[in-house]
Symmetry: D2
Subunit: 302 residues, 4 copies
């Protein structure tokens, strides 16, 4: 039976919970938040939904011991206001690096042996801290990383061409933050490379748009929630069903010595393997630079 | 093809939009909010979801003309903070009675001929004002009313007995507000009347709990969203598929001259018919009193 | 993770597999059939579906050892032509009583410790034989029994009244066969007893209709599949999510010393408990008679 | 509201109906078959499912007039035994060319103005005959064509690499029949061309496998149903939601003067446009040859 814990019930964590609940993805869900009132509220709002839901889901709250035999934990703690004020996801790093250590210790103490999907920002750095604190192997903890940014890029490209975003293949790589970039050499629409469709100026503009869009959403509603929650749920499903889904997520790359947004195969063991891309020299340089930025930030905190 | 408009993108309206979107319930969705930034944000968050969603959904925003040929409009405007401060859903009445008239006029101006489901509070009074302003027949506009409170009651009874809330039948009737009540003579669990299971004291305590629970949620997260959104989506599905679903919603009862929470059959024409219950004298008196309270409030505003 | 085995890939078993697969209800599915070519075909047809399915599902075939750690086994072996020729589900008893022993022994040999849902007919007798052969406790093996017949009764009553069958509550009890009966004292529509809506003649006609309808379907398409498959999937979901669903299924009643269609609470332990109904004297007599018929048939085979 | 007609209730048509029904894809469904008993059986089996289904769906049967305002008609008539005996989908051509004319005339007579998805085999030829008979523009009628064969190819490639078939991009082109071929220059896995992964011998073997697999299924169960039904349902959803889905289906190519499996954008107008591929000379020659075969067969019948 499928059991998922969610730590951090801000808009993202709560939306993940609601999505898992209404789609019947899980049998048991454990909700945890530093704010007791928030946890009690989300717990009750979901329990009140049961009579109108197509699925029964067992919900527990604020019980760390319930995580011991969970299959998956999603970490979605944070303080989005710090991101919006700062205009950069590293705005949350001060708070979340502390959170990562405290929460990591608590997860470790439960004896949890499953897979962790980290959403907390800055995603790559926090995934690193969580991995170091908990001591799980690198494959068993990864971040949503640029899975979300890639969805945003797919949408931007699709809108330019009047198409379904699912017709767009390819990746946004690097930090889930300002130094991310669309690796256009990997991107195709209906099998045709975007390099044949758009000129360099257009590509540069579309690349910048992906990260900008997230701030339009964050400023307008105070956070972003739907796209990221849906990304997390896709990853949860891929783990449960051992789907061997190909997705760009925040994975540990030996080559750079850090977690960073890069394609991998996601299955029951978390990251089944990283899939090496043939990038252009320029793209590789951007990726290396993005890795440096992530590592610098982590070094600052240590 | 299925087209739904949502007016008011607070937490409830936005959650309804997200639920319709991720479950593929609609083909086209029109999002409208007085706060342009909020509408832009929700629109973009949903568009960013498209690449990870199992369904394609066309989303429009801030375009009233798109409502002309919509099948269903959901009204979910309001200011929840006014409810929480006041401890009663009539706290929102001042603001929402103005909203109802302004929004009602705008809906009327589009030439909309479909069905309206009102969620805005106080639900029964606002449904009344919307119907009067727009001039649609009573069957084509109704409120979520006690469909939500009934779900809460089903949960409370089910928890007492260690059961699935879907095993509990029966109704909360009256105002979607403080004067609502569980009509226990109508409530059964697995075919057994709750009157045979619980004593009067327990029943009274459980009846009060339903409305209290909503304030626990509202205070803890600042609003309630999941249970109400799921109720609204069930009603949307019942209309599209002409399901003849039996549900307690805010319907116009000639007998009391007001909209009030009472069971009806929901289908493609909205309220296909009201289903008369055999209530006890005491229950009938409570219902009549609840109707009076709704009417008094409406009179005050006129 | 959710793992289900299906033994017997006739139209019913195959449709159960397809439904679990396309709704993402399971992560792993094990398909077994006496006819190797049939198993190979269903396996390949499902594998060919993967690229168009919203969910990834791992499918194994003809591997009994994969059942050892399955959560649920569905038994759907049989030879429907024997039923249609005979006009009675006991037409399959000769063949299926042998099947039940052989298959029961094989299940036992795997060390399976989960829950068995039996669909094979005659359902109550075959469930009995499987339980005796495998030696699982009574709660861990049960049959779909009159869960299907009840759905048929709900439809018949709903059609008479122009309503959604889900508005109809109540039960068909007894043998999943000719001696079944609608326990009208338990049946209500929108909270109103059918005894107040229909006269005795109409009730008698509707009671007979439920079983007749199944033969209209069986004769027209050579088998029945959709309604029974959907019933089985509901029970699978109830077990995985520990839903405490209230449903009439073939359960062991001490009182009669046999498996028979009667309401129970279905959860992670299979039958969590039987729920005693207040039947009329006449209904109780019908139930007792139906139990006798089931036992006579079992005795004949022993 | 969404209305779909299905003409031909063999295993394919019936499975399409069941899938639409259990996933709530349609609000109204019209079932038509030359065999009255079969239509009555499928109608009743679905009606018996309503009480256990998460969605309400209105089902009509044998009423051609109900097709007048349907959004989509799926044609799935045929006689699979003729295909299996013959070892080629043209085995059904004699029977189905008659069917196409008779059924086409009846569809025309209803005044139907929506989109037709043809599944009947030989798919490309029958789509041609239906279009000519009914006189709908080419964009409003198309066949499932190699959408299914492509799914089979995706699976074959994915299995070689231990991946999810959804990670495989690219197309099987040409006739939905023996002259089809995998256009390997279009096929990539996780963005890497299969030409870099497999040698020519392996590619040739995998190309042949796709069509062979369908006969393994057809011989083992007497027909194929699940993969094709799921393909058809994806196309139905793409039309309703105007998804602009990119899919290889049987479309009319001016260049060859015939319907043939080739990628197109599917939306509310059926085929929104054909998407030209850059094929290798060899692939183009194969496509041209496949077109000739389709046209020769059509000529024979005329």
């Amino acid at each position: 039976m499928r059991k998922v814990g969610i730590i951090g019930l801000g808009h993202v964590g709560a939306t993940v919970a609601y999505t898992l609940f209404t789609h019947g993805v899980v049998d048991t869900m454990v909700l945890i938040d530093a704010n007791e009132g928030k946890a009690v509220a989300e717990y009750n709002d979901l329990r009140d939904t049961l009579a109108r839901n197509d699925y029964h889901v067992n919900v527990y709250m604020q019980d760390w011991s319930q995580l011991a035999d969970a299959d998956i934990i999603i970490t979605s703690f944070g303080k989005i206001s710090a991101v919006i004020e700062n205009g950069d996801r590293f705005g949350e790093f001060g708070i979340n690096s502390k959170n990562a250590k405290e929460i990591g210790e608590k997860i470790k103490a439960t004896g949890f042996k499953g897979i962790i999907i980290n959403i907390s920002n800055p995603c790559d750095a926090i995934t690193t801290l969580l991995q170091e604190t908990i001591g799980l192997p690198h494959n068993k903890i990864f971040g949503t990383g640029t899975f979300l940014d890639t969805a945003r890029m797919q949408r931007i490209v699709a809108e330019e061409l009047g198409q379904d975003p699912r017709n767009v293949q390819g990746f946004v790589l690097g930090e889930h933050g300002s130094s991310q970039f669309s690796a256009w050499s990997t991107v195709s629409v209906n099998g045709k490379s975007v390099l044949e469709i758009f000129d360099d100026q257009k590509l540069a503009q579309m690349s910048a748009q992906s990260n900008k869009n997230s701030f339009i959403v964050a400023r307008g509603k105070g956070y972003t929630s739907y796209a990221i929650a849906t990304c997390a749920v896709k990853l949860v499903l891929a783990i449960f069903s051992d789907a061997h889904l190909f997705a760009p997520v925040s994975v540990y790359l030996e080559e750079f010595g850090t977690y960073i947004g890069y394609p991998a195969i996601v299955g029951k063991n978390g990251i089944e393997r990283v899939v090496k891309l043939k990038l252009t020299d320029n793209e590789y340089a951007q990726l290396a630079k993005s890795a440096d930025i992530i590592k610098e930030h982590i070094d600052q905190i240590k």
